[in-house]
């Protein structure tokens, strides 16, 4: 059995601990020292093991889904699943904020350099009311969920190449859930309502913070 609390710990690490290529970079030494002073998960020993896993991480990256075809990239951008550029990850108050995956909802007409996007996450145990869980077939990548309550404007130039694509029906459902977190379409998986001390309450705090950092200023 998998616990939500464990999923939350993983999410905190995934979102706010430096990945090996940052932890290994001497230019980040001082930031890393500050991080180790405040992070309950990272310690010298963990960082060492991160280094040894660095090689494996690189291999996994090589096997990760390739960007969509050129034809798809140049087509309609609404519905594309993209990462915010890796080099935009940044330090803040001792934490390293890793760029999230997003779903492009709309090209903004008045500003050709910006998209309306919804933030996404991969561990569906952390999905709550108003989140839309999508299967691997629906995303053309993996099982993910869209945080329909965490929608913001991101710069077009801050996005990586698309790694997945969803149908207009799904982007429509995301917009609907953004307005009304109960408006699930018939086909959707419905997450459990939030309870007291629910790990997902804290997860949402974390995700809101991530959104605030990577949105267009």
């Amino acid at each position: 059995m998998y616990s939500r609390k464990l999923a939350l710990s993983q999410a905190k690490k995934y979102r706010t601990c430096p990945p090996p290529h940052i932890a290994d970079n001497p230019a980040h030494k001082e930031y890393l020292r500050q991080h180790l002073e405040i992070c309950p998960y990272c310690s010298t020993r963990v960082m060492e093991s991160n280094r040894s896993w660095g090689h494996l991480a690189k291999q996994i990256q090589d096997f990760s889904p390739s960007p969509l075809s050129h034809e798809k990239q140049n087509g309609r951008q609404t519905g594309q699943i993209r990462h915010i550029r890796d080099d935009l990850g940044r330090w803040r108050e001792g934490y390293f904020y890793n760029p999230p995956l997003i779903l492009v909802l709309e090209e903004i007409m008045e500003d050709s350099d910006a998209f309306l996007v919804a933030q996404m996450y991969h561990d569906i145990y952390l999905a709550g009311p108003g989140d839309l869980i999508l299967s691997g077939e629906q995303t053309e990548t993996d099982e993910l969920f869209v945080e329909c309550w965490n929608i913001y404007v991101a710069e077009a130039t801050s996005l990586e190449s698309p790694t997945g694509q969803v149908t207009p029906e799904i982007t429509g459902a995301v917009r609907q859930l953004g307005q009304n977190p109960r408006a699930y379409p018939d086909w959707a998986i419905q997450p459990k309502p939030l309870a007291d001390y629910d790990a997902r309450i804290y997860f949402r705090e974390l995700e809101t913070e991530i959104g605030l950092i990577f949105r267009k200023r």
Partner: protein, 335 residues
Amino acid sequence: MEKWLESPDARNVLSWVTRSVMKYASSKNLSLTFLRQDISWYDANDEDFREDVRSELVLFILENRPKIQNILVLGKRNSHYYLRRAFINHWIEKTRRPLMDPRRYLHKHAADVLRASENFHTFVGRGRSLGFSAVAEHISIPPLSAEDIREISFPEQSLEYEYINKKKVLLQLAAYFLNQVSKMWGDKPVGVDLRDFISWLGLHVSVQAPVPLRLVSDGKELLPLLPDHRPAADGICFDPVLVKKWAWNFANRLSEKERAVFLLRHGHNLSLKDIAGKLGYKGSSGPKYPLDCAERKLKFFLCDLPWLSPDDLNKEAFSLFRDMLLLNIKNIKNK
């Protein structure tokens, strides 16, 4: 066939299939009772495991000679893949018996009972696993977390494996479980994954395989299948080194202002008015903002830490954390 088994070609096929089946058995947690062994038997020696799997494989080939002969001896393409699949199926089939692999047997038995029942609707859910619901028109839900499953109390008096494995009892428990999950979703009709139902049963009734006969000291009786209600070690004990480290981490997480206000409020029990006076704020609302920030950070910091988060709070661990936190704040302040 016997001649073929001695050939170098057969040795290669047997080694490959053995290795591949071992990997599969470990990743899918197949019951080792198939090999008439307890898991601890193999802890120290992987070689014994390999040998036991290999000899079971040879036995399987000999027992199924007519079927397997044509494929192996004639060297048909992909024959080793066929043998691997057939042997894994044989392993699973052999362990789907009440006392060989109780959990797997219970899963299969529950699936059969639910499929045959007119009171339940069954369907294929995520990951091709079986799901069940009370009505055909139900909402899909994600897999239940450990917290969700623990929240559902057990309604029956008897916690014996043989008792819950009866058709009538299984159906009653399935209906109860479905009803409780439905309540969690605001009384909506839900479809639940059979694996979640079995996990819940496993919390209250032992579904672990008993120690095989020849490993029981007197060799006469099987150990009874009773749930293990001893609390887990980390429920009673905590790691003080880790707790102290976290107190140090959190003291560093606060800003200078937050540390000062936090220490006076929680270390010296001063009112906001007195804190304002001590720290030179104009009014009692002055220290309120940094105090709120510090408390919010504390809540977020502790929310997923063992022994310190509200849902599994260990009072002793929390006292240690509190004392060390206040001490660390004082030390940082005095530096």
